[in-house]
Each structure stands twice: as C-alpha cells, then as structure tokens.
Symmetry: C2
Subunit: 200 residues, 2 copies
C-alpha cells in the first residue's frame, strides 16, 4: 500500500476498520470520497462528528437520542407509561415502532446476557430498568429480546428479577411468521405455534 | 426511518451514498461509528477531509499525489524518463508498481474512451500526454489500458495520435495468466497467447 499518497492510505485504513469492509472495498470507498464534490465530502465528515458528539442514551429508556432530556418516546404524552417493552438494541425499537401497534415505552438493554462473550447482567442497563419498575406506575413489562438462547436467558433472568415488584411480565408470542410456509418452519417454532394456538 | 435521531439518520444517509452500501449496511456502519471511541470517530472524519483537501493530480502524470509539485515517481531521479506507461486509473499505477519491474514514468488518463457512457477523448487527460510526448525525450509509450473493448479502443486511438511524434508505441502482452489453467482460458486469450508465442 506504499504507493498511495499518505492521506489516501490513511483514509483507506479508516474505511477498512469498519465492519464488513475489507481492503479492496476500503480502497473503492476512499476513491469514491476523492471523486465526491468538496462539499459532499465535508458533509460526510461532519455527519460522523455530529452523530458522535450529539447522540447519547436517553436517561430514562437508554434508547439513542439527540438533544437534552428524555427521548421523544419517553417524553410523549400520548404514550402509555404503564407498559415497558424491553429490547436488546436500539434497532429493535425501530422494528417495534414500524409495526405501529405498540403505544407504551421502551427500555433498551444494549446487549443480552452472554457468558460466552463475557457479558454479565452488570454490563447491561438492567439496574435502571429495575429502578423504573420499582418507582411504580408500571403495570406490564414486555420482554422483546430475540428468540435465541441468549435472548431467552436474558428475558428469563429479568422476569425473575422483576416478579417481586408485582408487575405482569410477558413475552412476545412465538409462532409462524406471517407470509411464510408451514413446510419450511422448524420444529421448535411449530411446537411453540401449536402451544400458543388461539380460538378463532 | 423517522425513528432514529436526526444526526444518526443523516449519518446513515451519508453511508448509504457510498458505492455498494445499502440502507441496512449503512445502518450497521453508522451504529459502528457511534460505538467507536470519540477520538477514533474524529480521526475517521478528519481522514475524509484531509484526503479530500490535500490529494490532487500530479501536474505531470495526473496520478494522485499529495503536497506541492510533481508526484514522487515523476520527481524521482532513479526513474527512466524516456518511457511513459499509459494507464486508465490511479489503481493501475499501484498494480504496475507492485510488479517492481517497471522503471519508467506513468500517465494516468482517468478513464477510457467510452461512447456508451458519453466519455470522449476530451474528457480524459490525453492533451497533457500529447504535450509530454511532443516536448521530446520520450522513446517509448507503453499502452497499459485494460484488455477490454474500451481499453483497446483507447489504446488504438492514442497510438494513432502519438505515431506522428516518432515514438515507439507498445502494448502490454496478452496471454495466459501465470498460475492459471489452460482448460479455463477463453478462446480469445488462447488465440492471443498462441500469436504471441516466443522461442524458449
């Protein structure tokens, strides 16, 4: 790589640090930046710095937010403050919001309990969740962690932790995804779908 | 995407503008930037601006360079100024330099003649090449554009343009790539390899 000018080499290295970007892709991206108009490149650089400096976690739900105080969901008078949906990741809030079904508040753990990756309960935003529930006014906590081993374990751990406060702890329903084919559903999903069957 | 804070949305949009980066990848990259330490994100943003503001084309060979005056290859006393290798792209200079075989200078066209994409001779750095050759001191011009239709046409066009100046115009050899298998070589390549056979 000693044939590129140093500033270009540095830019390639910066791109190559991004997840899923190899050296060849990084070179392509760096050359693309060089071919951008001056103001577009400046806007790109500025976007990185602005995002990094202005985005932080909401002090209430720990979701990503910008500006002072609680996030727009936590501070909205139209949301039902008696329900908290617990998700692992800010992206999961976006997925839930997209359904337009949920009207309550959120709590973002920023991960799941994963002994394999040395992530314990203290590494997640669990203490602030317990504080929110213990402060009262919460009727139901919906566990919406992913339906994999670690998500299950985290939901199980939290439900035991929250039970003493007398709140209802629920879990998202398992079942056949809408629009999918029965023949391709795995055994565990089918079993859960059968267990969760409802009267029509 | 109205569920992300504006600064994050903006960063996602900036990433999504890059070639080969879709919205999902852009989100992943943006979240990665948010998870970076403050100084790393600043270094990334700085790299974009530095590369964009300091890298320009060498006034002699049009290759990318940094700093004042001609590039390091053009200004090196160890390079043979009587030979010019014409390539389409700065990346091709890197490929040629990697072979450690070539000791002459370069000329980067920044593209090839491509009527389909509305790229004509005037859109490339051809005038400056003709000026270099007409200024004298050049014995040989090696055409090292890609061996595809447009690269061929560009090489052919340039060779006709340069012939009046009495320089030797050559083309990189065609043939079987080293390390490949004869059975997978296409007909055109095999034909060229046969034509270009040499005594052992």
């Amino acid at each position: 790589m000693q044939y590129f000018p140093p500033a270009l080499e540095n830019l390639v290295e910066q791109f190559a640090k991004l997840p899923g970007v190899g050296v060849k892709s990084a070179q392509r991206l760096a050359f693309h930046v060089l071919s951008m108009p001056e103001d577009e490149a400046a806007a790109f650089a500025q976007a990185i710095q602005t995002a990094k400096s202005t985005i932080h976690c909401c002090p209430v739900c720990q979701n990503l937010t910008q500006g002072e105080g609680p996030c727009s969901i936590c501070s909205s008078p139209r949301r039902d403050a008696s329900t908290i949906c617990v998700v692992a990741d800010p992206k999961d809030v976006v997925a839930m919001e997209r359904s337009r079904e949920y009207q309550g508040l959120y709590h973002v753990l920023h991960g799941v309990i994963s002994p394999m990756n040395h992530v314990g309960p203290d590494d997640l935003h669990i203490k602030s969740l317990v504080e929110r529930v213990s402060a009262g006014g919460v009727d139901e906590v919906i566990m919406a962690t992913n339906p994999d081993t670690e998500g299950e374990a985290t939901a199980m751990y939290l439900s035991r932790l929250l039970r003493p406060f007398g709140v209802k702890v629920t879990r998202l329903a398992y079942g056949i995804p809408v629009g999918s084919h029965l023949e391709y559903a795995d055994d565990a999903t089918l079993m859960r779908a059968l267990e969760g069957r409802r009267e029509m």
